[in-house]
C-alpha cells in the first residue's frame, strides 16, 4: 500500500519533472526555430538584395539618370510639343530629342585642357567663355545646347568627368523655309513666338497634333514661280496665296524673302515680316472687282451702260487718269478689261459713299482679319471717308489692305456671293458651316463678275494669265507706292488675282510683286499683266497637274464662258 503510494508519488514526481523538462525543451525548440527562421529571412533578403536586384540593368550603364540633374529642360513625362502636318499629312514641324552638353565645374579635373578640346569640337564656342564656365563656382553650366551624335562621341573621348549630357527637345522643320511665315518659329524652351507656333502654343504643348489646310506641293509651286518672277524683274520682295474660294482654305501662302525657321534670330526683319498678313498695300485696280460688284448690287443696270472716260476727273487737287487710256466712252466690260480708273471712279460715284463703304466693310476689307495667325495688320482706311475717297477707293487707291484680305474678298464674290473667312487649320466640319455664311452679293452679280473676270484674261490686260483649257479669269493691279507721302511712279506694286475654272470657280491664286523693274523683253513694262499674270498662269498649270484637274476639251461649251460680253466691246482700231 505504502510502496504503491510511493511508487505512485515517484511516478507522479517523475511525470511532473519529465513534463517540466519537456516544456523547457519545447520552448527551446520554438525559440531556436524562431531564430533560424529569422536568419533564413535575413539570408533570403540579403540574397535578394545582393544577387537578384543587384544585377546592373541596361539603363544604368554609362547613362546619366536624368532625375538627378537640375531640371531646366527636364521633359515633362509623356508630353512633347506636337507635330504640325500639311493637309496630306506631310510633316511640317516636329520635335526631336537631341543631347545638350553641360558641365559640373566642381568635378572638372583640368579646365584648360577640357576647354581647349571643347573649342576644337564646337567651332562656335570661344575658349575664354568656356574656360570661365568650367571654372565657375556653380555646380551647373550649359556649354552647348545642341550636340550632334558625332560631337557627343568626341566629347566623351575627352574623358572629363565634369562634362555630361542631358536630353533636350528641339523643334525641327523638315521643309526648311518653305512654310516659314505660316508656321512661324519658337524659342529654345518650346514656346511659339510667331505664326501657328504662337497662336496654337498651348494646344501644341499639350500634345495635340495639328493639320493645316496647306498643300506642300502647291506651296512649293507658288514659291518657285514667285521667286522666278522676282528674279526676272529684280524685285526685292513679293507675296502670294492660293485659296479655295468655296471655303476659304489656304492651300499655299508665301511671303518672300523668307527665313530659316531653325535660326530666326539670324534673319533680317525684312525676311521675318509676313507680307501676306502684316503688310498693308494699296493694291490698285484689283479693287475694281469690288467697286464693279458694288455697282451691280446698287444699280440694276445692263452691261451696255456707258461711262465717259474721255476726260480725266478733277476733284479738288486730285486728277484721276487712266493708265491704259482709251479716251472715249466705255461700256462696263470695257471699263473692266481696260482697267479704266475714270470708269471705276464713276461707278463708285454712282454707288454712293455710304453704300460703297458698307460694301467694302461687308467684304471684310476695312477691319483686321479674324485669322488663325495672330500677326494681322489693321487696314489703313481713310478717316474721315470723304467723297474723294469713294472715287479713289473704287480703283484701289487711298485704302491699304493686306493681300490675304483682298484674296478673301475676291473669293467671297466669285464663289457665288458667300462671305468666306481665311482658314489655315484643317477642320472637318468646314463643309457644313459654309451654308451659314452671310451673302455679300447676289448670285446674278457673282455670275456677271465671273464673266467680266474671264473677259480680262481673254481680251483685256491679263492675256498672259491664260492657261489652255483651265478657263482662267482675273484682274490685274498696278499701284504706285507711296514714298515720303507722295506717289512714286517708279516704284510699283504689281499684282494679279486669278481664279479658275471661271465657269465654276474653285481656286483663287494671287501674286503680288513689290517694286518690279521693267525689263528689255517686257518693253520696260512692269505692270501686273507683265509681272504677276504669267507667274499666276504657271502656278495654275502646276496646280492642274498636281491636283489632277483636267482641262476642258478643245470644243467644250465651258471654253466659251464669258464670250457673250464681247458684243459690248468695240473692236480696237489697228494702231
Amino acid at each position: 500500500m505504502l510502496s504503491a503510494r510511493i511508487r505512485r508519488n515517484v511516478v507522479k514526481l517523475e511525470g511532473e519533472r519529465s513534463s517540466a523538462l519537456d516544456l523547457a525543451r519545447g520552448r527551446l525548440v520554438i525559440m531556436s526555430g524562431f531564430f533560424i527562421l529569422v536568419y533564413m529571412v535575413f539570408v533570403v533578403r540579403a540574397f535578394d538584395l545582393a544577387v537578384i536586384q543587384g544585377r546592373p540593368t541596361a539603363r544604368d550603364d554609362g547613362r546619366i539618370a536624368a532625375q538627378n540633374l537640375p531640371g531646366e529642360l527636364a521633359p515633362r513625362p509623356g508630353i512633347r510639343r506636337a507635330d504640325i502636318a500639311d493637309r496630306n499629312g506631310v510633316l511640317l514641324a516636329t520635335t526631336l530629342k537631341t543631347a545638350a552638353l553641360f558641365a559640373d565645374p566642381y568635378l572638372i579635373a583640368d579646365a584648360q585642357e577640357a576647354a581647349k578640346k571643347l573649342v576644337q569640337i564646337f567651332p562656335d564656342l570661344k575658349y575664354g567663355d568656356v574656360l570661365q564656365k568650367l571654372q565657375s563656382p556653380r555646380r551647373f553650366e550649359w556649354i552647348e545646347r545642341n550636340v550632334s551624335p558625332d560631337q557627343q562621341y568626341q566629347v566623351l573621348q575627352i574623358g572629363e568627368p565634369g562634362l555630361d549630357f542631358k536630353e533636350a527637345y528641339r523643334r525641327f522643320y523638315p521643309q526648311g523655309p518653305l512654310t516659314a511665315h505660316i508656321l512661324g518659329y519658337g524659342s529654345v524652351d518650346a514656346q511659339g513666338l510667331a505664326g501657328i507656333e504662337r497662336s496654337f502654343n498651348n494646344y501644341l504643348n499639350e500634345g495635340h497634333n495639328l493639320k493645316l489646310t496647306v498643300d506642300i506641293r502647291l506651296q512649293h509651286a507658288l514659291r518657285r514661280e514667285i521667286l522666278a518672277a522676282m528674279d526676272e524683274f529684280e524685285a526685292p520682295a513679293a507675296a502670294g496665296v492660293v485659296m479655295d474660294v468655296t471655303n476659304g482654305e489656304i492651300l499655299a501662302g508665301v511671303s518672300l524673302p523668307d527665313f530659316n525657321p531653325h535660326n530666326p534670330g539670324a534673319a533680317a526683319d525684312n525676311a521675318i515680316f509676313n507680307r501676306l498678313t502684316l503688310g498693308v498695300y494699296e493694291l490698285g485696280s484689283v479693287f475694281k472687282i469690288f467697286s464693279t460688284a458694288a455697282f451691280f448690287e446698287a444699280r440694276d443696270l445692263p452691261m451696255s451702260t456707258t461711262f465717259d472716260a474721255s476726260e480725266p476727273i478733277k476733284a479738288g487737287r486730285f486728277t484721276i487718269r487712266d493708265y491704259h487710256a482709251e479716251d472715249r466712252i466705255l461700256t462696263i466690260p470695257e471699263v473692266f478689261m481696260y482697267s479704266s480708273n475714270i470708269g471705276s471712279a464713276l461707278m463708285g460715284q454712282a454707288v454712293g459713299t455710304q453704300e460703297l463703304r458698307k460694301f467694302y466693310s461687308d467684304l471684310g476689307l476695312l477691319d483686321p482679319l479674324d485669322f488663325e495667325i495672330r500677326e494681322v495688320a489693321r487696314p489703313l482706311v481713310p478717316d474721315p471717308w470723304r467723297e474723294i475717297n469713294t472715287l479713289t477707293a473704287s480703283y484701289g487707291h487711298g485704302l491699304s489692305t493686306t493681300p490675304l484680305q483682298l484674296v478673301t474678298a475676291v473669293s467671297s464674290i466669285v464663289n457665288g456671293g458667300y462671305r468666306v473667312n481665311p482658314v489655315l487649320v484643317m477642320n472637318e466640319e468646314t463643309e457644313e458651316n459654309r451654308t451659314e455664311e452671310p451673302r455679300v452679293v447676289s448670285a446674278q452679280t457673282a455670275q456677271k463678275m465671273r464673266q467680266l473676270l474671264r473677259l480680262v484674261v481673254t481680251d483685256g490686260t491679263a492675256k498672259k494669265a491664260e492657261v489652255k483649257g483651265l478657263r482662267v479669269g482675273g484682274k490685274t493691279g498696278t499701284a504706285e507706292k507711296i514714298v515720303n507721302g507722295k506717289y512714286d511712279n517708279k516704284k510699283k506694286i504689281s499684282s494679279f488675282v486669278g481664279v479658275f475654272p471661271m465657269d465654276a470657280p474653285r481656286y483663287a491664286v494671287f501674286i503680288m510683286v513689290d517694286e518690279p523693274k521693267g525689263q528689255k523683253h517686257t518693253w520696260n513694262y512692269a505692270t501686273g499683266g507683265w509681272v504677276a499674270a504669267p507667274a499666276v498662269a504657271r502656278v495654275m498649270a502646276s496646280m492642274a497637274s498636281i491636283l489632277g484637274i483636267p482641262p476642258a476639251p478643245e470644243n467644250a461649251p465651258e471654253n466659251h464662258f464669258g464670250e457673250s460680253l464681247k458684243q459690248f466691246v468695240s473692236a480696237k482700231e489697228a494702231p
Binding site: 539603363r59 562656335d124 498636281i546
Partner: protein
C-alpha cells in the same frame, strides 16, 4: 510534447513552402518588371529613332529637292494641263479582253521556254543622253549631287537652337 505533433510539422512545412513560393513569385515579378522596363526603354528608343527617320525622310522629300533631282536624273517633265485625259471619254484604249474560259483564243499560261547561252551584255546607254555629251565626269555628278543633300539634314539638325 504536444508541439511536436505531426500536425505542427505539416504546418511548418506548409509555411516554408508558401514562403518559398512567395519568394519565387516575387522574383519572377521582379524579373518581369525589369524586362518590361527594358522593353519600354527600347520601345521609346525605337520610337525616337522612327521620329528622327521620318523627319529625315520628309526633309529628303522636300518638293524643291525632288524637283531638282528629277530635273537632273529623269527625262520626264510634269504633265502640262493639255496632256491630261479622262479615261471615261474614250480617249484611252480599252484593256484587251481576257478569255480565261479556255475558248478559242485560249493561250496556255505556261509557255515553252528556249534557253540561250549567255552573251556578253550589250553596252549600257549613257546615264542621260544629252545633246552635248557630258565630260567623262558624268558618273561622278551623281555622287557630287547627293552628298550636299545628305549633309543638309545633319546641317539642319545642327542649326537647331544655334540661335539660343
Amino acid at each position: 510534447m504536444k508541439l511536436l505533433r505531426p500536425r505542427t510539422f505539416i504546418i511548418f512545412a506548409l509555411a516554408g513552402l508558401s514562403g518559398a513560393v512567395l519568394l519565387h513569385t516575387s522574383q519572377n515579378v521582379q524579373l518581369a518588371e525589369e524586362r518590361l522596363e527594358s522593353l519600354e526603354h527600347s520601345l521609346a528608343r525605337e520610337r525616337e529613332k522612327t521620329r528622327m527617320l521620318r523627319a529625315e525622310w520628309e526633309a529628303l522629300n522636300r518638293p524643291e529637292r525632288l524637283e531638282r533631282l528629277a530635273d537632273e536624273f529623269l527625262d520626264l517633265l510634269p504633265p502640262a494641263p493639255g496632256q491630261m485625259a479622262l479615261g471615261d471619254k474614250g480617249l484611252l484604249p480599252e484593256p484587251a479582253p481576257v478569255d480565261d474560259e479556255g475558248g478559242e483564243g485560249y493561250e496556255p499560261v505556261l509557255q515553252s521556254v528556249t534557253f540561250e547561252t549567255a552573251k556578253p551584255p550589250a553596252p549600257k546607254p549613257a546615264h542621260k543622253p544629252l545633246a552635248t555629251p557630258r565630260p567623262p565626269a558624268a558618273p561622278a555628278s551623281e555622287e557630287k549631287a547627293t552628298p550636299p543633300q545628305e549633309k543638309a539634314f545633319g546641317d539642319l539638325l545642327n542649326e537647331l537652337g544655334r540661335g539660343g
